[in-house]
Symmetry: C2
Subunit: 206 residues, 2 copies
């Protein structure tokens, strides 16, 4: 569709802004904008103000680099949690995923990505230095790596493992294996192979 | 995911706002919000301000009810267009679709929907009265119905046809038939049947 077919510059600008979002093409952007046009003015102002306000006010926890409303996030500020166990994750979405399992009572460290030379992301672009600082201070007992099982995730795992080898800490990585509910015949061979190698005594799994 | 797993109220509010948009679930909303968080502040402010500004400033053409930046839209204000031929469409998206064909030089009338008793939309909820007003004034020669071929679209077509029957105008409807590029065997039988009934002399199609 040629740009000149938009009947209004205001509409076109709004479509352009929405189309910048990931996974939103121009047709979807137009659908969203027309939806907003049908809503009450107050509701649309609230949408815009909430987005503006969020970007302006949001902070990153100075300890774990998670998104937060204050200088220290709720998780790091919670004294009931085990501050000697750090779970290293890629992004805040992983924090939310792990939190929703209710199986982890330690704290997190958000790397902000994984090492990916192809995308120009090196170790210095991630929050590795502050993580090392925390470990150096000596109160950390265990670091759990919970990164994606992609090549980049594994590279980052290995880099961190080597880097922290000199400190007196336990480094672990979350278990890889057949998903619960999955049928064996549909599991890919790499996962199935790994789950055989890393088999556990039966009594540990119940 | 429980709402409490959001690490920040500001983030959660923004996700809630995005999740109100059609076709955007909470997971997608979170992805969009986290994308915005990674952008420069100025860029996000621009996004929010553009949306706010659009909703505040946008107008509807007083003649055709199309979205416009001014009281009369560019199409209605264009004196080179044929103001005696009105194409009746459901929404502004249809105007844009027809404009992009560059096959129509008349003007439009945006109904704002179709008659749909199931959704509580009756003739009075659409811009039928101003359309009749235009026809009454006598300068209209042809009204082209370009509504969807749904039950609601056909009902609206028929309602308008009956309503405007008493005026001395030609009423037409856009041709229905096999799409260009479609194979006959994959065309549904209703469309194929209609395209047989409404067959044209060969020389008219070249």
């Amino acid at each position: 569709m040629s740009p000149s077919s938009y009947p209004s510059k205001l509409l076109e600008n709004a479509v352009n802004e929405f189309a910048k979002l990931p996974g939103i093409g121009r047709k979807t952007a137009l659908r969203l904008v027309l939806h907003l046009l049908k809503q009450e003015k107050e509701q649309v102002y609230k949408f815009a103000d909430t987005v503006h306000h969020m970007r302006q006010e949001i902070m990153y926890c100075k300890s774990c680099h998670n998104i937060s409303d204050s200088e220290t996030c709720n998780i790091c500020a919670d004294m009931n949690r085990d501050h000697s166990t750090i779970c290293v994750v890629e992004s805040i979405r992983d924090v939310m995923a792990i939190e929703s399992t209710q199986q982890f009572s330690g704290v997190y460290h958000v790397l902000g990505g994984v090492i990916s030379p192809m995308d120009g992301i090196g170790p210095d672009d991630l929050t590795i230095a502050p993580l090392e600082e925390k470990i150096k201070n000596g109160s950390i007992k265990e670091v759990i790596f919970a990164l994606s099982t992609t090549m980049e995730g594994d590279t980052t795992n290995f880099y961190l493992y080597k880097k922290f080898d000199k400190y007196n800490i336990t480094t672990t990585t979350i278990a890889r294996g057949v998903s619960i509910g999955d049928e064996l015949e549909y599991t890919d061979e790499v996962t199935l192979g790994r789950s055989l190698i890393n088999r556990l005594p039966f009594e540990k799994t119940i």
